[in-house]
């Protein structure tokens, strides 16, 4: 492997290469640990609701489907946010070539976010939702009761404060330090994330407007500013592991985010087909969103191209694998599977079916879960005092990569089959069946999906184990 | 002052480019002024022609004539204004290809 390359470096260089450059980068560690912990929670609840699909009264009434689903989706967002924050705290000092403005603030913010998040989840699980709403001030300003934005008002306010503290810390660091494309794009994306989250406080009475603005959070996050964050993180890791000239990587990054914004902003229209907005959205939304796969295609080309042109054999092969995997899976999940249902003429039939869910799972995993895991894979060894984990540990980590990734592919294929069945039996047929009759036919597919979910969880367990595998360190 | 590796590389590249430029006549890449004027006149005349056909003439298959004219004008623009005839073949092909695909699809829709 790369033992020889590392062995040939002088001792001082090896020592330098195996540490973080700025002490304050260490604040990223708790964020990453929390991220993985919450990821585990997310999957546990995913297994619960996956089973409830086929065993309808599993855990009823203690943990109902609607509550468990809320926990599953909210945990996903929160663990990814912890991941982004850890990534920001790690890469901004390194890019700006100075210590973080306030490591102390970062740690305080961490605990505030973690406790608030934990309390919210406990609230979901322990109280009837309407009681939770009443207790947490929803009567003052109603913001609850909408998908993915189920958080109580005080939690939402807490998120804003946590985000502001995070952005303040990073922005002050950037302002005083070196400005690179990677750090600027990262911060642009993160500021965008915070600003668009403010729309979760906008809750019009008019149902059409309500749904119109809801997408300003959800779409403009995952098909907008989050892609900037993802691009910057991917670029950062590729600069480090491939040693390719920074200018080349940064140029690619600008192109990718330009394509993201060109296609994704008006592409919001693919959520405006049927909610009561004017019909021209069916044209605009289809045209622009049809091109949304392009930035993901570019990210795949980018990752493979940079690795191909690498100027060094970085010992952290796992991180490289995660980076390449992110490109491929995000293109497949977000790009290809997204395209499947994006044209209005197709969406007319697939809207609200498991086809959408198949896209959602592969896209979220492929793009955002994987880019956070890429970052963790690259940074965690350094945060623990080594350039890369031992070959044994990397072997387990790579196995975990494959198990999780292939499991998601399997889940996606199951859900695609389920969705296709729905479309055929419930919508396209001359003698359509009812929703429940169709669901009855799909049950075997849901069982298969659940088994793949178990497999995914095994991969996640392997992943956690990889952090504790020792074995011969490279000297 | 420390020259970062990127700056050094840029400086070297500049020198290489300047040396290469001395071996070429840069003006050869662009059409002569006379050709430029002729091109402009031709494109403008074709534009006015198309508009006149639509206003006064209104021949059968107006749409086809006009779209074909636009295609032709586009080809000239890509070749000489964009200068893609001197560009790498893949870029030249992509842009002319775009024009060809769009124009022929539009022509087809009027059949």
């Amino acid at each position: 492997m790369s033992n020889a390359t590392v062995a040939s470096l002088p001792a001082s260089a090896t020592a330098a290469a195996s540490q973080v450059r700025y002490r304050s980068q260490a604040v990223a560690k708790p964020y990453f640990i929390a991220a993985i912990g919450l990821f585990i929670g997310q999957i546990v609840f995913g297994l619960i609701i996956g089973l409830q699909y086929v065993v309808g009264d599993f855990l009823f009434p203690v943990v109902t489907f609607s509550t468990a689903r809320m926990v599953h989706t909210n945990l996903l967002i929160v663990w990814l946010l912890f991941g982004f924050m850890g990534a920001g705290y790690y890469l901004i000092p390194e890019e700006t070539e100075r210590e973080l403005h306030s490591p102390k603030l970062a740690i305080i913010t961490f605990w505030v976010f973690l406790v608030a998040g934990a309390l919210t989840i406990l609230g979901y699980l322990g109280l009837p939702y309407n009681v939770l709403a009443h207790l947490t001030g929803n009567d003052l300003l109603p913001t609850m009761g909408r998908g993915y934005l189920e958080q109580p008002l005080i939690t939402k306010v807490g998120i804003v404060l946590v985000a502001l503290s995070f952005l303040y810390n990073l922005s002050m660091t950037l302002l005083a330090g070196r400005k690179t494309s990677i750090s600027i794009v990262m911060l642009l994306g993160l500021w965008g994330l915070a600003i668009f989250f403010l729309f979760s406080f906008v809750n019009p009475n008019n149902l059409v407007l309500d749904k119109y603005f809801w997408w300003w959070v959800v779409h403009l996050w995952v098909e907008g500013v989050w892609e900037l964050i993802m691009g910057a993180m991917l670029a950062f890791v590729l600069v480090k592991v491939t040693g390719v000239d920074r200018e080349i990587i940064e140029k690619w990054l600008y192109l990718i985010i330009a394509m993201t914004l060109i296609t994704g902003i008006v592409g919001t229209g693919h959520h405006y087909f049927w909610i009561g907005t004017p019909a021209y959205w069916q044209v605009w939304g289809s045209i622009f969103s049809a091109l949304e796969p392009i930035p993901f295609f570019m990210m795949t080309m980018f990752a493979f191209n940079m690795v191909k042109r690498r100027r060094r054999e970085h010992p952290n092969q796992a991180a490289t694998l995660w980076a390449l995997g992110t490109g491929v899976m995000s293109f497949l999940g977000a790009g290809v599977w997204g395209f499947l249902g994006t044209l209005s003429v197709v969406n007319y039939y697939t809207h609200g079916t498991q086809v959408t869910a198949s896209h959602g799972h592969m896209a979220f995993y492929g793009a955002y879960a994987m880019v956070v895991l890429t970052m963790i894979s690259y940074t965690m060894p350094l945060l623990r005092g080594r350039e890369a984990n031992s070959p044994q540990a990397q072997k387990v980590e790579k196995l975990a990569f494959w198990v999780m990734t292939l499991s998601i592919v399997a889940i996606t294929l199951c859900l695609t089959a389920a969705g296709a069945t729905q479309v055929l039996l419930q919508r396209l047929s001359d003698t359509p069946l009812s929703f429940m009759e169709t669901q009855d036919r799909i049950m075997p597919i849901y069982w298969a999906r659940w088994v793949c979910g178990i497999s995914f969880f095994c991969g996640l367990v392997l992943y956690v184990i990889s952090f504790f595998v020792t074995g011969k360190r490279e000297e | 002052m420390d020259l970062r590796p990127g700056d050094k590389r840029k400086a070297l590249f500049r020198i290489k480019e300047a040396l290469a430029a001395r071996g070429h006549d840069a003006v050869m890449t662009y059409p002569a002024p006379g050709t430029q004027r002729a091109l402009w006149l031709l494109l403008s005349l074709l534009t006015v022609l198309a508009a006149w056909l639509a206003e006064d003439g209104h021949p059968r298959r107006l749409a086809l004539i006009v779209l074909a004219l636009a295609w032709f004008k586009g080809v000239l623009l890509v070749e000489y204004y964009m200068g893609l005839r001197h560009a790498p073949r893949w870029l030249h092909a992509l842009v002319q290809g775009w024009l060809a695909v769009v124009s022929s699809a539009l022509l087809l829709s009027f059949f």
Binding site: K251, L255, M259, I262, T263, P278, A279, Y280, V283, W284, I287, L291, I294 | R14, E17, G23, H24, D25, A26, V27, M28, T29, Y30, P31, P33, Q36, L39, W40, L43, S44, T47, V48, A51, L53, A54, L62, A63, V66, L67, L69, A70, G74, L77, V78, Y81, M82, H86, A87, P88, L91, L94, V95, W98, L99, V101, V102, S103, A105, L106, S109
Partner: protein, 195 residues
């Protein structure tokens, strides 16, 4: 030696301007291309509606607009050739001429669009007007961006930086401008003239 090279070697193939800009241009062409094709499908399905809409369109102003953009492109080509010959002031004058032409286009187009809105035409009037407004406004925005890019280059050119072996900036701006013109050539023919 220069003569030897001049007579036998054709100019080697190189990308005019920044490759990143060309990627951007290709993306823009893709979007417009799809837009045009969708227009074609809708028109094919409702020929009478589209023909009626087109009949109410004035042809004089849009034709003038096309002439403006073509003149702008011609000026842009002149600018690039002059910079390549080391004639900086002449090149800047040609850039200014490009902007003048672009400004003319924008003014006329604005007048045309205001006229439509004054007649109560909106995106929801019917399919033809929806496409007409979408395409022309979308293109309008691109002309604005083209003007911004050309203006930036015109400004930067003041310090004489665009020497014959440092032409990247001007060529990049030219490439974008010509793309905007190319798209208009198709748009003009399709929406205004082809009836």
């Amino acid at each position: 030696m220069k003569a030897l090279v001049q007579s036998s070697a054709p100019p080697e193939r190189r990308v005019p301007g920044d490759l990143a800009m060309w990627c951007f241009i290709l993306a823009e062409l893709a979007v417009f291309g799809v837009f045009f094709l969708v227009y074609a499908v809708f028109r094919w399905r409702e020929p009478a509606l589209f023909a009626a809409g087109q009949r109410s369109l004035d042809l004089t102003l849009p034709t003038l607009n096309t002439l403006f953009l073509l003149a702008g492109s011609a000026a842009m080509l002149a600018a690039v050739s002059r910079f390549a010959e080391g004639r900086q002031p002449a090149g800047r004058r040609a850039l200014a001429l490009t902007m003048l032409c672009g400004g003319g286009f924008l003014a006329l187009k604005l007048y045309e669009l205001v006229g439509k809105f004054a007649r109560g035409i909106t995106l929801s009037t019917n399919d033809f007007w929806m496409f007409y407004l979408s395409l022309t406004v979308f293109h309008f925005l691109h002309v604005v961006l083209g003007m911004v890019i050309v203006a930036a280059v015109w400004r930067l050119a003041r310090d004489g930086r665009y020497t014959p072996d440092a032409m990247d900036g001007v060529e990049t701006a030219a490439a974008y401008w010509h793309m905007v013109d190319l798209v208009w050539l198709v748009l003009f023919a399709l929406v205004y003239v082809a009836r």
